[in-house]
Amino acid sequence: MELRVENLRASLGGARVLRGPSFDARGPSFIGLVGPNGAGKTTLIRAVANLIPFEGDISLDGMDIGAIEPRARARKIAYLAQGAESHWPLSVERVVALGRLPHLEPFRAPAPSDEVAIERAMELADVTRFRDRDVLTLSGGERARALLARALAVEAELLLVDEPVASLDPYHQLGVMEVLRAYVDQGRMVIAVLHDLSLAARYCDRLILLDEGRIRADGAPAEVLTAETLRSVYRVEALISGEGRSFHVLPVKRVE
């Protein structure tokens, strides 16, 4: 799978948010999209999900994403919004099953392959234990995993997730990152908007650092998260140490 983004421009409420970022990505790969608040991270993945109007080109395996038929596109690109919620008290299993909607034939019941995909997604996100519980009565960490399982159930080649670990405790943060990592290791691509730089660096193969709608750095985590980029983009002095799975970034003070 190959994703190509070229000279992407998008505006929100008249203000230009994306100023022409371009990048290529080949699966399998876990890409972290990092950058300060207002850098355009959410806008970028919403553009890739074809949820907002944009200028420039986004293509998947050489096909312009706007030209792909919506249901076919929905099978290729899954999207998990930040703080997504269920409006009705569905059971966890029913919520996960919603991920199979793009695969269902009109007027047909779900196929056995859909049932298998639902089981697989619940297994991967570790929500099988409470499959019959009402999703609205789950704890924040359990609910985040259930909604993630919904996105996994699409079994799309490209999964876009917006701040999947925000408001989760460390245990559940690691849990979600491990699920995403495992999904990538099945041969797929994940692009995740992340604010926790240490987590991003430890789990992602590649980081894209966005600032004011432009890409400021793009590459392996240790290359992107340097003292210099943290100072100029995030405006913080940070301690950086370790490597691989123990790499971490500790912001210590603001740069005036």
């Binding site: 409006h87 569905l90 919603l98 909607l101």
Partner: protein
């Protein structure tokens, strides 16, 4: 919930609706006499009984079935579309538009011309208010815009209806309008049923076609879009379908409240709260409930029949209050 349970719920509700439908044909003033006449040896008696059955009782039972199913179905669909359990078919303004259209027919004294003028006026009113709704809210309206535009249209058409009432030349017209507005199945003919049915069926098909889209909307508009559903199309089908079906229903029977609000509430827990699975049982439940209510108004054997719309609201409102109290008690 398993598929078998879902099937059983639907079968149960369909059976209930069927029982009330048959009861609706045979029960009523002179019911026994009617049955006796049907088995009479005298040819004239028998054909008279058949005539009453076909021209009086059958349209009434058919209207109960169709209008009840319409209200239950569209109520469930709108609650799913707006993701709000308080939504009801009247919310988008089509039913008050239909009411105004029918009232204007009475106001100008055209109702006596043909039994078809009132439903025609009603459907025209519903279509015009749907058109205005779309003009007001744009091509891809947000849910809030849709609700606000619907409320504005409802308020304005209700004001015009009141104006027609206060300016009506003869007290007889006022009497006719008020009685019609209260909602009833009495004295409706097969012609009116035949006129309204295509609109109700077309509307119901449009609404039913949104079923999976409504499921996708459970997780919000963005998620629904990312699952391959076009927002404009789902909203348009649900709103226009509801407008057509409910507009046609109101134009024949007058305004019947609370069925579209209460029935989806009752059925929702039975089907695991899933919007798509709610549509069919809600339609069947709506038919059963309205047929039952129409049997209830026929119980008093002397004096005038209470109007159906009054009875559904009289039972529906306290019942709804009870539902709210129960939900509040269950909430943590």
């Amino acid at each position: 919930m398993r598929n078998r349970d879902y099937l059983l719920i639907n079968l149960g509700l369909a059976l209930l609706a069927a029982v009330f439908f048959i009861a609706s044909i045979y029960v009523g003033r002179g019911g026994e006499l009617l049955v006796r006449k049907l088995h009479a040896i005298d040819e004239t008696d028998r054909s008279l009984a058949w005539l009453i059955l076909k021209e009086v009782r059958l349209p009434r039972a058919l209207l109960g079935l169709l209008v009840g199913a319409t209200l239950g179905l569209t109520g469930a669909a709108l609650q799913g579309l707006l993701r709000n359990p308080l939504a009801e078919p009247g919310l988008i303004g089509a039913s008050s538009g239909a009411a105004l259209g029918a009232v204007l027919v009475f106001y100008f004294g055209l109702a006596a011309g043909s039994a078809m003028f009132v439903p025609l006026g009603g459907v025209a009113g519903a279509l015009i208010s749907l058109g205005i709704l779309y003009m007001l809210s744009g091509r891809n309206p947000s849910i809030v815009t849709l609700i606000l535009a619907g409320v504005a249209i409802s308020a304005f058409t209700s004001a015009l209806t009141s104006l027609a009432l206060s300016l009506a030349a003869s007290p007889y017209a006022v009497y006719e309008i008020i009685f019609w507005l209260l909602g009833s199945f009495t004295d409706r003919s097969m012609d009116q049923v035949r006129f309204a049915t295509p609109f109700m069926v077309l509307g119901a098909l449009l609404v039913a076609s949104t079923a999976r889209g409504l499921d996708a909307l459970t997780l919000g508009e963005d998620t629904a879009a990312s699952l391959g559903f076009k927002q404009e199309s789902i909203k348009a089908r649900a709103v226009i379908g509801t407008g057509l079906a409910v507009g046609a229903a109101v134009s024949v029977t007058g305004v019947i409240g609370f069925v579209g609000l209460v029935v989806p509430h009752l059925v929702r827990p039975l089907v695991g709260h899933q919007p798509a699975k709610l549509l069919l049982p809600s339609a069947l439940g709506g038919a059963a409930m309205l047929l039952a209510a129409d049997l209830l108004v026929r119980l008093p054997m002397n004096g005038p029949e209470p109007k159906l719309g009054v009875v559904t609201s009289l039972i529906g409102a306290p019942f709804f209050l009870w539902l709210i109290l129960r939900t509040r008690r269950e909430a943590p």
